[in-house]
């Protein structure tokens, strides 16, 4: 049995579901927002093992039969109306520790990815250390709440970008706002008010011929170059998708090896690496040198299939169908 944790409106997850069904694999899809109102957990611990089921109106998962779990993007528990704030906090905590705890306890399950390991892996400063140990090149980076340190760092490199350490999407003024990578200007550096408010993340600007998203699915790696078609997308391709073009490429073996080592150290099975393929610097160095920007354990991939034709869905389907080898 394969358990897919994904929200309802997720057509990337649909693709994997259809692939699994086509192969005849038993699969149940659950969004954790269904718990506790549309999803029932019935689990007993006896004789050293958890037995029981997860049940929806139309489907049932035998806990003992689960061999793979794909944690795509489940949304948070939706509790019954009428709870006080204290009751809701209590209920949410109990739901997480109960449902999450039972799932974590199941033996021999292939997690793609294990949520606790994925959560740990989102710490970018940790990623940089792991990537460097794995032989990948990481641009000089500053994390600080000191305006003085920002000035010092900016003066030490040819150019500097600012980008968030965590999610780049916030809700404010009744709308969503996205924070893309920003190429810092002299005017920005002249007014550093607000740096002290929290940690800020700056990195040396890496001139590039292209960006690359490399998606690791178990033993498979799919590498797609992303070519900017505008000034905006040259700094951050996500800021102007429509101008970008895509092509599947091969990366040097040492980069592939570095990514595999990175994944192994962090215990990840799936990861979407954002890399830069360097442009030549003034001294002639850096051309085609691949630099590590980040690895996203929940990174999107369908746009790479749509634009470059890489078979990530098939790879995920195969991986989940095989399950854990342990």
């Amino acid at each position: 049995m394969i358990l897919v944790l994904a929200q309802e409106s997720d057509r990337t997850a649909d693709g994997v579901m259809l692939g699994l069904v086509e192969r005849g694999e038993p699969v149940v899809r659950v969004d954790l927002s269904w718990f506790p109102q549309r999803l029932t957990l019935d689990a007993e611990f006896r004789d050293g093992a958890w037995r029981g089921c997860l049940r929806t109106e139309h489907h049932e998962v035998d806990l003992a039969a689960i061999r793979s779990v794909w944690v795509r993007s489940p949304t948070s528990f939706r509790l019954p109306e009428g709870l006080t704030a204290v009751e809701a906090d209590y209920s949410r905590r109990e739901a997480k520790l109960g449902l999450g705890g039972v799932l974590f306890a199941l033996p021999g399950v292939l997690w793609v990815n294990r949520p606790d390991l994925a959560a740990r892996a989102v710490y970018k400063p940790l990623q940089y250390s792991v990537a460097a140990r794995a032989g990948l090149t990481v641009p000089p980076t500053l994390v600080t709440n000191s305006a003085l340190a920002v000035g010092r760092f900016a003066a030490s490199v040819a150019g500097v970008v600012q980008k968030p350490l965590g999610t780049n999407l916030i809700f404010e003024d009744d709308q969503y706002k996205m924070g893309y990578t920003h190429l810092v200007t002299d005017a920005d550096l002249a007014d550093l008010r607000g740096v002290h408010t929290t940690a800020h993340h700056l990195q040396e600007w890496a001139p590039k011929v292209a960006e690359c998203r490399a998606v690791v699915v178990g033993d498979d790696i799919f590498c797609v170059a992303i070519h900017a078609g505008s000034e905006q997308s040259y700094v951050d391709y996500r800021s102007d998708f429509e101008s970008t073009t895509y092509e599947e490429i091969e990366l040097p073996e040492q980069v592939l090896k570095g990514m595999r080592t990175f994944m192994a150290e962090l215990g990840l099975i799936y990861g979407a690496f954002d890399l830069v393929i360097g442009a030549p610097r003034e001294d002639g160095s850096g051309e085609n040198h691949v630099m590590f920007l980040e690895c996203n354990p929940g990174g999107q991939y369908q746009f790479l299939e749509a634009t470059a034709g890489v078979g990530i869905t098939d790879s995920l389907v195969g991986l989940l169908a095989c399950g854990s080898s342990s």
């Binding site: 897919v4 929200q7 309802e8 409106s9 997720d10 057509r11 990337t12 649909d14 693709g15 579901m17 699969v27 899809r29 954790l32 927002s33 929806t56 993007s73 949304t75 948070s76 528990f77 905590r93 997480k96 520790l97 949520p115 994925a118 959560a119 989102v122 710490y123 600012q162 968030p164 999610t167 780049n168 999407l169 916030i170 404010e172 003024d173 009744d174 709308q175 969503y176 996205m178 924070g179 893309y180 920003h182 920005d188 550093l192 008010r193 607000g194 408010t197 929290t198 800020h200 993340h201 800021s239 998708f241 429509e242 996203n296 929940g298 999107q300 746009f303 299939e305 749509a306 634009t307």
Partner: protein, 111 residues
């Protein structure tokens, strides 16, 4: 008391042990205006407004087939070749350029 110790732990919360996102088309209950310069984090100066996502109207989730299906035919909808969201240069009215969420409606999960 298991778990209580970690609920508000700034470095390793229970949340992070089993991270969960907000529903894709839901707006958070609360929306504040930006704070004044000087207190607002420097890193939030360069945000781009994305508007509000709209729930799809041509397909819906089928709890039996466990995938999105066409609202008319009931058949699973085929994947489409779109990127994270589609720019609509101008809508009717005076709201100006906007972005409509489609296809991969969620940005990368980064915690």
């Amino acid at each position: 008391m298991a778990g209580v110790r970690f609920v508000d732990d700034p470095l390793a919360s229970v949340s992070e042990q089993f991270p969960l996102g907000a529903p894709g088309f839901a707006a958070p209950e609360r929306s504040d205006a930006a704070s004044a310069p000087g207190i607002r984090p420097w890193g939030l100066r360069w945000l781009t407004g994305m508007g509000m996502p709209a729930a799809p109207t041509c397909y819906r989730y089928c709890p039996i087939r466990q995938v999105s299906v066409d609202v008319v035919t009931g058949q699973p909808v085929a994947p489409v070749a779109k990127v994270a969201w589609t720019t609509v240069s101008q809508k009717d009215g005076d709201e100006g350029p906007s972005k409509d969420y489609d296809w991969e409606v969620q940005p990368d999960y980064t915690g």
